[in-house]
């Protein structure tokens, strides 16, 4: 079997040298070509020996640098022939991704790289990562044991391009003291209708709209999935935008009236993290926040914190998943990729998964990890953590318009913020977003797939 990646790179360099574009290639620019960079033939892994050294780019989600170092130590103990270099490639998913894109075409690419829900697809269409089916089979990674949604978030055209690592979902957090004062049962509302019935009493208890909503990219268009899916809407069906579907518009209208007419909810004035601060300080009675925020909220709050599923809509529950997976870079030799695959297998096995989940608050991505004693101990200590795991059953893979189209999340966030902050008609706001997403799809996606 050939090494398509190496030969392609070699050809690229040779072509650049022969053609007049040597200077450009030397600057790391693109070559002029109509073809995209995606997908390549699978490699026969049976004759490949793992490389002695690999590099891992992470942003240590959930302040996990010590845990990650520990996993490397354990892995190297089991595999003395392989050294893993851990690199802090940014403070968040976006910075890791931006660095990975900037590094394309240079020798400074990692072997294993963080691939968040809104970035892995771009890595894929740029040809920067490899599909993992062959490697998973060769290394006997038990992919069936992964939570289905969390694993399939990385699927496109029947192949998976990353494995789940630090994964989160939104949760409904509520202030149990306020709940008690308002005379409500000690649980999250089952449905948004129920929340509406409770809202007046809650509003009276806190003296303002009881539900705090967080603004900002990578966030607003994420939790909105709950309202939208719960009312039968969606951002898109595969590549077809459904932003003008009545159900989607209905969800937008529901949010608009909840914030602007009924005043049961308000956008946090404290900026991107304000909704968490507002809730922890008792300013708001409840909020939707990530599972990753659980530890922080418990540390800050001076009251009893309750957690529950996101409320259902008329069409049922709706809960998105987020966070980051790990992907393997294509610009490396099969030996490097194999070593990276071995480490990835180790990193996502049941033991490490449970340990990581216990240490950070991220979801246990493997079903078998949930029953492990260390995980059970966590649930015993912080029962709120259990909520997220139970809620996993109701999660669903993200709509492509948000997760796959470059900047799709940003355009949707702008639309939803306009609906909330400027009381704009959802039809107007969503049609503006649809136009932007369509352009982005045509320019950045269509010709690559």
């Amino acid at each position: 079997m050939t090494r398509p990646e190496l030969s392609r790179r070699g050809l690229l360099r040779l072509g650049a040298l022969l053609g007049g574009s040597a200077a450009l290639a030397a600057c790391g620019g693109p070559t002029i070509s109509e073809s995209g960079g995606a997908a390549q033939a699978d490699i026969d892994w049976s004759g490949v020996q793992p490389a002695p050294q690999i590099t891992w780019w992470s942003n240590h989600p959930g302040t996990s640098i010590e845990l990650e170092k520990e996993y490397i130590r354990r892995f190297q103990e089991q595999n003395p022939g392989i050294t893993v270099n851990l690199v802090t490639a940014g403070k968040n998913y976006d910075e890791v991704a931006q660095r990975f894109q900037a590094a394309a075409g240079t020798d400074n690419t990692p072997d294993l790289v963080g691939a968040s829900d809104v970035w892995w697809f771009r890595y894929m269409i740029n040809g920067q990562i490899i599909p993992l089916e062959g490697l998973a089979q060769h290394l006997q990674i038990d992919t069936a044991d992964f939570n289905r949604t969390l694993y399939d978030d990385y699927a496109f055209n029947g192949r998976h391009w990353a494995l789940p690592y630090a994964r989160s979902t939104p949760l409904f957090y509520y202030n149990r003291d306020v709940w008690q004062r308002a005379g409500l049962p000690d649980r999250a509302p089952e449905t948004w209708d129920e929340f509406e019935q409770w809202a007046p009493a809650l509003a009276q208890a806190v003296g303002r709209p009881p539900l705090g909503l967080g603004p900002g990219t990578s966030w607003t268009a994420w939790w909105f999935c709950n309202f939208m899916w719960g009312r039968g809407g969606a951002y898109s069906q595969e590549w077809t935008l459904t932003l003008d579907k009545p159900e989607t518009l209905d969800a937008g209208e529901y949010l608009r009236s909840m914030v602007n007419d009924k005043k049961f909810a308000a956008v946090s004035v404290g900026g991107d993290d304000g909704y968490v601060a507002d809730f922890s300080a008792g300013v708001t009675a409840c909020t939707m926040a990530s599972t990753g925020s659980l530890r922080g909220i418990l540390a800050q709050a001076q009251f009893e914190v309750g957690t529950g599923f996101l409320p259902k809509g008329p069409a049922g529950p709706g809960c998105p998943t987020g966070g980051t997976g790990m992907a393997i870079a294509s610009a490396k030799s099969p030996e490097q990729q194999l070593a990276a695959g071995m480490f990835l297998k180790f990193l996502t096995d049941a033991e490490q998964t449970a340990n990581f989940s216990a240490g950070t608050g991220y979801m246990p991505v493997r079903t078998s990890a949930i029953d492990r004693p260390d995980m059970q101990a966590v649930f015993a200590k912080t029962p709120q953590a259990r909520t997220a795991v139970d809620q996993l059953a109701t999660t669903r893979v993200q709509d492509w318009a948000r997760a796959f189209v470059p900047s799709g999340d940003q355009y949707l966030t702008t639309a939803i913020e306009r609906i909330m902050l400027q009381n704009e008609n959802p039809a107007t706001a969503f049609s503006a977003a649809a136009a932007e997403i369509k352009t982005s799809y045509e320019q950045n996606v269509a010709r690559y797939i």
Binding site: L24, C27, E34, Q101, A104, T217, V269, G270, G274, S407
Partner: protein, 320 residues
């Protein structure tokens, strides 16, 4: 004391290498060669660095602006001037340019006025003025990221010190983070806070060239100190003003750190300036070609403004 009214190039021809009137053509040519070598040794390294690390990328960026290229992709397709057409036809462009203009004009204009007032104040014979000068300049030396982070805390409408102060006098805090207009005001305030000390310092230096008695007279003359300041002192500060207008304009149009740390261009893109848009389109959206087109336009705008400023100052110099 250096006076500032020297025409940029006038004396050069006479200062420096002394041109002997009797020199014969041959030795002149040798002199020329020697001068070229000397120039190469002295200025060569700097100019070479500029060519490699500034002009080479600039040229490459011109080229990239004619491509449709996803950052990170090995291939791109040429699209001619389509990126420029997109820029000018995008409905959001006008707003982004307006935001850039407001930010630039207020930070440059406001900074110059406040800086001048501070300089005049700190030039008066007041006790502790030395300490005050130092404190006023201090924020300028801080990192933009650190400044952004610390002001996030001051502005927080619920937990910030500013809202506590505003509440104390009976005014509620504006929604700094969720109202696009107030967010822009917030960014401008922070930018001014950080940079006004630099303007004040340079003006303070300029004021030293103004004869003291003129200033004293301006201060003592009860009739109209403001008018005497405007008519007597300000013109003498002309060169300083020119220098500041160029440097603060360039810094303001290229400011990045504070926006990055505080708003990331939001809310509702209300703090996305041209510079920030280059970053967002190129890195966050991965539209490297489009981003390069905006960068090229920004470069041309800066170029045009600077040429106009240089023209202006040269005419002024001839006039004086």
């Amino acid at each position: 004391m250096a006076t500032a009214t020297t025409p940029p190039d006038a004396p050069v021809r006479r200062v420096g290498t002394h041109r002997a009137p009797r020199s014969r053509p041959r030795s002149r040519r040798r002199n020329q060669l020697r001068n070229w070598l000397l120039f190469a040794v002295l200025a060569g390294p700097n100019i070479a660095l500029l060519v490699v690390f500034t002009y080479r990328p600039l040229l490459q960026s011109f080229f990239l602006s004619t491509l449709q290229w996803n950052l990170g992709s090995p291939t791109a397709i040429p699209v001619g001037l389509a990126n420029y057409a997109d820029f000018f036809s995008d409905p959001g462009t006008a707003r982004m340019l307006a935001i850039t203009a407001i930010f630039t004009l207020t930070t440059v204009g406001g900074g110059m006025v406040l800086g001048l007032l501070l300089a005049v104040l700190l030039n008066r014979k007041l006790r502790f003025r030395g300490a005050a000068r130092t404190i006023v300049v201090a924020p300028y030396v801080l990192s933009g990221v650190a400044v952004g982070l610390l002001w996030l805390f001051v502005f927080d409408p619920n937990f910030g010190v500013l809202s506590a102060l505003l509440n104390a006098v009976g005014i509620g805090s504006p929604d700094w983070y969720t109202d696009p207009q107030w967010a822009l005001v917030m960014i401008i305030i922070v930018y001014l806070w950080k940079n006004v000390g630099y303007v004040a310092l340079i003006y303070l230096a300029g004021l030293q060239a103004v004869p003291r008695d003129l200033l004293e007279a301006a201060a003592l003359d009860g009739a109209s100190p403001i008018r005497s300041f405007l008519s007597v002192v300000l013109p003498l500060l002309g060169p300083t003003t020119f220098f500041l207008s160029i440097t603060t304009l360039l810094t303001s149009l290229q400011s990045f750190d504070i926006i990055r740390a505080m708003t990331d261009g939001g809310p509702l893109e209300g703090t996305t300036t041209m510079m920030y848009s280059i970053y967002l389109e190129g890195f966050a959206n991965g539209r490297a070609g489009y981003s390069s087109a905006i960068a090229t336009i920004l470069f041309l705008v800066l170029f045009a403004i600077t040429v106009v400023q240089l023209r202006f100052v040269e005419r002024k110099v001839h006039y004086s």
